[in-house]
């Protein structure tokens, strides 16, 4: 099966995020003064072939831990959906 994956990488709480902090400081100057706790991150979108969702998730978890994140400072969450045309 083919799945579409969206991988969201965020710094652990407490790890400095200059981009998020800068955006947060800029928001009130634009008139948006109701927002706080801005954190920036990275997202990766990709397609993966696997026998099933469990197998796809296992492979992506391995990729996240070994390459897409540095587990000392970052964590990833993975969303999987069947890719267009899957099962046809």
């Amino acid at each position: 099966m083919k799945f579409h994956a969206v991988i969201d990488v965020q710094l652990h709480p407490g790890i400095a995020d200059p981009q998020g902090s800068t955006i947060e400081r800029a928001l009130p100057t634009l008139g948006f003064d109701a927002m706080s706790n801005v954190r920036s991150g990275k997202s990766f979108h990709l397609d993966i072939e696997a026998d099933d969702e469990v197998a796809a998730r296992a492979t992506l978890t391995e990729v996240c831990e070994s390459f897409l994140t540095n587990p000392v400072i970052e964590a990833a969450s993975i969303e999987l959906t069947p890719a267009e045309g899957a099962g046809s």
């Binding site: 710094l11 790890i15 400095a16 995020d17 200059p18 902090s21 800068t22 390459f67 897409l68 540095n70 000392v72 400072i73």
Partner: protein
């Protein structure tokens, strides 16, 4: 004559300064391209500073997969001295040769300034010629130089005397004021300051030479 291989990735920019600093002290420096796969004729390795592979994904994250790194990891395991300076330190942590990680500076700014360092341990290939508590004036030039690790890793670093250099006035928020560490075997050292930029009084300091001399003496 001892030959120090200085690894050059796309984006490395301190390799020539590093070779110059080594050769002024009587060693031989040889640039090694990151796609090379062996370290034949090399007695020690320096991973020089810069922005390897554009720092894409994270500093050091792509560099770790360059072909030369397999040879470096293998040689380090056999005891060859390996030193990572600045971006090279980031590469060594990403490659798993050193613990911890380098996060963005506490003040959220890139820092390019002189620092006073303290030699915390002389039991490493990069500090063996110095004395404990010796002060060294060496510049830093980084955004992601804030060393971090979990508490148990920090306890291990202290217990095993793996912290080799500390900042006198911590500029970036590094845990334990850490500027440089070594592995348990003491042959792999990573540090954020640039000793090659403190290799001649004309540059403002020659305090970096004692570190390069240590490396040459370790071969």
């Amino acid at each position: 004559m001892s030959t120090v291989g200085v690894v050059r990735f796309p984006g490395t920019n301190c390799e020539f300064d590093t070779v110059e600093a080594i050769e002024r002290l009587g060693g031989r420096g040889r640039i090694i391209w990151h796609e090379d796969t062996h370290l034949d004729g090399i007695d020690a390795v320096v991973i020089a500073g810069g922005f390897a592979h554009g720092d894409y994904l994270r500093p050091g994250a792509i560099a770790r997969f360059s072909p030369i790194m397999s040879a470096v990891i293998s040689a380090a395991g056999e005891g060859m001295p390996v030193v990572g300076i600045c971006n090279g330190f980031q590469v060594l942590t990403e490659a798993g040769l050193l613990p911890g990680a380098l996060q963005k500076n506490r003040g959220l700014t890139f820092i390019n300034d002189w620092q006073n360092l303290r030699v915390s341990s002389t039991n490493s290939v990069f500090t063996s010629a110095a004395e404990v508590d010796r002060k060294l004036r060496i510049p830093i030039n980084h955004f992601e130089g804030n060393f971090t690790c979990d508490d148990s890793t920090l306890d291990d670093l202290v217990a095993n005397d793996q912290i080799v250099l500390t900042y006198v006035d911590n500029p970036n928020g590094s845990v334990g004021d850490i500027a440089g560490i070594c592995n348990r075997e003491r042959n792999v050292v990573g540090l954020m300051p640039h000793p090659e930029r403190a290799s001649d009084a004309m540059l403002g300091s020659n305090d970096g030479n004692i570190l390069m001399e240590s490396l040459l003496a370790s071969i």
